[in-house]
């Protein structure tokens, strides 16, 4: 177990170094980051001055070395737009994004687990149809469209929830539903499939039909399978929600990282974009590591296979 953990840890660190390299090159995709970051009417002299100030005139390997040295100490330079250290801006917005993502996850799980289990245990029933329907709708309705509809209906028409902002629990409801809808669809499908799968395992079927398996034991098997499935997917979905928050946070004026991505991209503030990319990637890598560990705890076979 310790060896497994250690090797996964090393893998994660190597991966993060790769992410740093990747981000460095993405910003240089067009060849001239200075031109990319300056406003359209900037004069050639201003661009040149900026290039020198940012160190973009240095040879690529020198730039890379400086970037990596900064990155390893958590220094991603200063945000051009906000005029503050980029990483501290990102860190400031973590609580809001985390709050929203966790609430969305909570919403998705609370709805999908019962729905998926009911659907999976009664294939072909009206519950199953509902379950499959939600699964499909969740994956086909664009979240920003849903967000706008939620505002029109629940805020403007019914006045149940605020239209924007982060002011306590009530303001969390609509953004969490909008962001959680996609994972809701995904989870519902997966829970249903994993329930079906365990019910159809030959040994379970035989045991159950012969009366050797009691209902509560079957239930236990089902829950175990569902838990394994969900643990494996929650990490990935968290990554998705960090992306989806670009839309949801912008629409609901939620003060988190997703909204900052949008503003940084519009302002062509690429030092900030770099910091956000590295941070979120680091978060996903960490989450995957935790997922693997959780997985190894639940299912001991995993660690030997690796």
């Amino acid at each position: 177990m310790q060896r497994y953990l250690l090797s996964r840890l090393i893998q994660s660190v190597v991966l993060m170094i790769g992410v740093l390299v990747l981000v460095f090159f993405i910003v240089r995709l067009t060849g001239d980051p200075a031109r990319l970051m300056m406003p359209r009417d900037a004069s050639p002299e201003n661009i040149q001055a900026f290039r020198e100030a940012m160190g973009f005139d240095a040879p690529l390997h020198v730039q890379f070395f400086n970037y990596m040295r900064g990155a390893l100490t958590g220094d991603f330079g200063r945000s051009l737009h906000y005029r503050a250290p980029a990483m501290s801006l990102v860190v400031e917005r973590i609580p809001a994004t985390l709050e929203l993502a966790l609430a969305a996850l909570f919403f998705a799980l609370v709805v999908s687990i019962p729905l998926g289990i009911i659907g999976g245990t009664r294939p072909g029933s009206i519950w199953d149809t509902l379950c499959r329907g939600i699964g499909l709708i969740g994956q086909t309705v664009p979240n920003f469209w849903l967000a706008l509809m939620l505002i029109v209906f629940f805020s403007v028409e019914l006045r149940w929830f605020p239209t924007f902002g982060r002011d306590g629990l009530r303001s969390l409801v609509l953004p969490a539903i909008a962001l959680g809808f996609f994972p809701l669809g995904k989870f519902t499908r997966l829970v249903r499939a994993s329930v079906l799968e365990i019910r159809n395992e030959d040994y379970i079927r035989t045991a159950y039909s012969k009366g050797l398996l009691e209902q509560h034991i079957l239930t236990r098997h089902i829950f175990r399978n569902v838990a394994i499935t969900l643990v494996s997917i929650v990490g990935v979905q968290f990554g998705y929600m960090l992306g989806g928050s670009i839309y949801i946070e912008s629409i609901f004026a939620w003060p988190g990282i997703g909204r900052m991505v949008n503003e940084a991209v519009q302002a062509r503030d690429f030092p900030l974009v770099q910091a956000i990319a590295v941070f979120t990637a680091g978060f996903v890598v960490l989450l995957n590591l935790l997922t693997d560990i959780a997985y190894a705890v639940i299912d001991p076979r995993i660690r030997y296979e690796n």
Partner: protein, 515 residues
């Protein structure tokens, strides 16, 4: 055993969710509303609350509620005293002596005096300051005594007072040095009508009334809260539900829809921006028919601009009569816009020797301005009606502006120019400055002469007269097809009184109150 593990894992997860939510959201509620609070939605969020670093209009608007300059430009763009009670200008127009208001203190108690002005200027001219070029219009700023400041310029600068009113926020030296530029931008201190209370990043900016404000009886509300809402449909929803009192940057359709909503007032006004189709007499337009003034006038007659405004902007824009707008100094109200008169256009073309019209290149940027692609297409159609056949090239805006700066666009090209100084000089120089200006493709010695004279005439009335003459000249010999001056759309709750945004989309909330 298995079961326990799973339950354990589930518990760990629930605790994670729980603590995460609690950590992130626990105990943070909206502050209790005092007697009168004005809640203002802004479409972008300030990068800084220091008016010298605040990058764009909305950030500037937020920041300026907390500051004063030596002078203030009123709603008619007339410069009035502010932190300076009066000033004298030397005969050659390069030395200004400001006599400062006494007894004014900054929000933190620091006294306002000549040293504060000198310090503000010294800091403002440093290259890392966003608006350092505006501060840099003065060559030197010296303290003569505690309440007298002498400001010197290289040459007579008629725009200096206007620029000071717009950009010179006076800051307290001691506090600024203590907290540094970053710290100041996050928690600024000024002499303005409102003082800084808190800034929850991207959540809210709270200010309270300055009880010792030097303008008697102002401000009229106890508290102002700015809320950032980037999405315009969310802003519209928020004004409907009454979650905010003022919203700006709505679309024309949103404004129209809000007009029927009880409790909401729509605010509309023309902004200081002119749209035009420019001609070129420097590069691609050389030896083209458009070098003839009759042809250019014909083209102004040929386009039914009112129809374009009616259909594309719901009638909510004004016809441009020149490169100036009504809010600019020296705008000649007696000049009427070119009427739509295709017959006259054909006659003028025939006079100029093109009875059957001609062919010419035409370009416009894509996605840069509201409906501008459609405007360009409509113009193409109208020009074709009088025989002028254009090949319209709608280009990605980045590439378009690169080509415009290189003067490599076709002889007809569309664009717009906004101005915030209250005068049209910067816009005129930028769009007509010939080879010296990066977005100009036109040069005319008469215009150059006018611009040179305006640029050194410090007396406001004389300058206004020169603008009026130039306005008439540019009407008779148009270097553009003048299009329209757009309007902007805002809305307030109907109990908001005296909210008066101006053509540069700036506003001062010290006059505003809630009924």
């Amino acid at each position: 055993m298995e079961k326990k593990k799973i339950i354990g894992l589930g518990l760990v997860f629930l605790v994670m969710v729980g603590t995460g939510t609690a950590l992130a959201g626990g105990g943070r509620e909206a502050p209790a509303a005092p007697v009168s609070t004005l809640r203002v939605a802004v479409p972008t969020f300030p990068n800084s609350l220091d008016a010298s670093i605040a990058a764009e209009r909305n950030a500037q608007n937020v920041a300026w509620q907390m500051f004063d300059s030596l002078v203030w430009a009123n709603d008619q763009n007339i410069v009035e005293p502010a932190l300076a009670e009066r000033w004298d200008i030397s005969d050659d127009g390069t030395v200004y002596t400001f006599h400062l208001r006494r007894g004014v203190t900054f929000h933190n108690g620091e006294p306002f005096n000549a040293d504060a002005v000198v310090y503000s200027w010294e800091r403002g001219t440093q290259p890392h300051i966003e608006w350092s070029d505006r501060w840099g219009r003065a060559k030197s700023v010296e303290a003569v005594d505690e309440y007298t400041v002498r400001i010197t310029t290289e040459e007579p600068d008629p725009l200096l007072l206007g620029v000071m009113a717009q950009h010179w926020n006076i800051i307290p030296p001691r506090y600024t040095q203590e907290v540094g530029d970053d710290g100041f931008g996050q928690a600024p201190v000024g002499t303005g009508p409102f003082e800084f209370v808190e800034w929850v990043r991207e959540g809210r900016i709270v200010m309270r009334a300055n009880p010792n404000y030097w303008r008697e009886g102002l401000p009229r509300v106890d508290q102002v809260i700015f809320r950032p809402i980037p999405e315009s449909s969310t802003r519209m929803a928020a004004i409907q539900t009454g979650e905010v009192d003022i919203v700006n940057r709505l679309t024309v359709e949103q404004a129209e829809a809000l007009e029927g909503v009880p409790g909401v007032n729509v605010v509309t006004y023309p902004i200081d921006r002119v749209f035009y189709i420019a001609f070129n007499n420097l590069t691609t337009g050389v030896d083209q028919p458009t070098e003839d003034a009759r042809v250019r006038r014909a083209m102004n007659y040929a386009v039914d601009r009112q129809a374009i405004i009616d259909s594309l902007f719901g009638g909510r824009a004004q016809l441009a009569t020149g490169l100036m707008t009504e809010s600019n100094l020296g705008y000649d109200h007696s000049i009427d816009p070119y009427p739509y008169d295709p017959a006259r256009a054909r006659r003028l073309l025939a006079d100029a020797g093109y009875p059957d019209g001609f062919e010419i290149g035409f370009a416009a940027p894509a996605g840069a301005y509201t409906n501008f692609e459609q405007v360009a297409e409509a113009i193409q159609g109208y020009l074709a009606d009088v025989g002028i056949r254009t090949s319209l090239d709608i280009m990605e805006s980045g590439r378009y502006w690169d080509l415009e700066a290189e003067k490599a666009l076709p002889p007809l090209f569309g664009d717009s120019w906004s101005e915030r100084s209250g005068e049209s000089l910067p816009r005129l120089l930028g769009a007509l400055g010939g080879w010296d200006a990066s977005f100009s493709a036109w040069s005319d010695p008469t215009i150059d002469d006018y611009l040179a004279r305006i640029g050194v005439t410090v007396d406001q009335d004389e300058r206004a007269q020169l603008y009026r003459e130039l306005h008439q000249f540019m009407y008779d010999d148009p270097p553009f097809i003048y299009l329209y001056v757009p309007e902007t759309f805002e809305a307030t709750r109907d109990n908001v009184v005296d909210y008066m945004p101006r053509a540069a989309e700036d506003y001062f909330l010290m006059f505003t109150y809630i009924r």
